[in-house]
């Protein structure tokens, strides 16, 4: 009885892994690096990738910059982001359908600064776009703005 249950659980786990892998396979990049200055890195799957103009940005990437660093990103829906010096930003979730303009954008500013010019996702549905800081959740209504997460000052 136990054995059979374990086998079912094992099969279920396997299927969900396969499903997750299938769901990920056709994923397009979330956007493209357009500008990069100073010390910058993309952290992906625990590894650091260099940030060069033209490089792809994927959902779940982290953008990290040093004291002299900054990065500019154009997402597929033409949301424009820039990450300033001494910053860490996590692109938590991204999806965009170019025909219907539906999808989702979630990004978290862990520290430092990020400027945002919102794109087609928030124009189609403001609730599809959310930015987070350690203490707050920000919703956008057709907006350009700057988020700063200080270091206790």
């Amino acid at each position: 009885m136990m054995n059979r249950f374990a086998r079912i659980a094992c099969f279920a786990a396997l299927m969900s892994t396969v499903a997750a892998a299938c769901a990920q396979a056709p994923d397009q990049p979330a956007g493209m690096i357009k500008t990069s200055k100073g010390t910058t890195a993309i952290e992906r799957d625990g590894k650091k990738t260099p940030v060069t103009p033209g490089a792809a940005v994927l959902a779940s990437d982290r953008i990290v910059t040093g004291a002299d660093g900054s990065v500019g990103i154009t997402l597929r829906d033409e949301t424009l982001l820039s990450v300033g010096p001494n910053s860490s930003v996590w692109l938590e979730k991204y999806a965009f359908d170019p025909t219907t303009h539906e999808g989702a954008l979630n990004a978290t500013v862990k520290k430092g600064t990020m400027a945002v010019i919102s794109g087609k996702l928030s124009k189609q549905n403001p609730n599809a776009v959310q930015f987070k800081t350690p203490s707050s959740i920000l919703g956008v209504r057709g907006t350009e703005f700057v988020i700063e997460v200080g270091d206790g000052e």
């Binding site: 033209g54 057709g142 700057v146 200080g150 206790g152």
Partner: protein, 199 residues
Amino acid sequence: MSARALLRALPLICGALLAACAPMERVTLLPSQDGSPSAVVIKSAGKETILDKPYTTDTISGGGTVTSSQEQPEAVRQKYASTLSALPQRAAVFLLYFDTATDVLVPESQARLPQIKAELASRPAPEIIVIGHTDTVDTQSYNDALSLKRAETVKRILIEAGIPGERIVAQGRGKRELLIQTKDRIDEPRNRRVEIRVR
């Protein structure tokens, strides 16, 4: 203070300590490029604050309290200069039209090709997004397919003009984004267009 009282006060003390250590956060609204009203809705400590005046900064303290202050535009631009200067350029937009029922661009649109190439050459890591649009004559699914076909045609024209194909993405938007607002089933040549966004 008894041990029990201390224990009871512990969550409060911890909360106060965390609040003291938590980083100060600021959100500053910038004016939208076309001057249209815009806002950021800030949800913090269970409360909602709406930031809707350009160059206003909402400061969120460790405890989640939000305070508003009006800033000078020049001071904001200076404070965030290194971040703002890293923002990518906005897309440059071109509209192309066809001779009726053909794959041939009208002469005015043909003349746009050198401008598109020049725009492409001026940008770092450039991409060209080609978006087909239709009028409202047919059904959604028919127009989705038709608009993509028009975009693919323009992609071919751009490749023939010497633009590398891997830089070009063709997309169809069907009848969802009319240039001239019409009712359904209206033949409107100005809506049968292809939009090129160089970014």
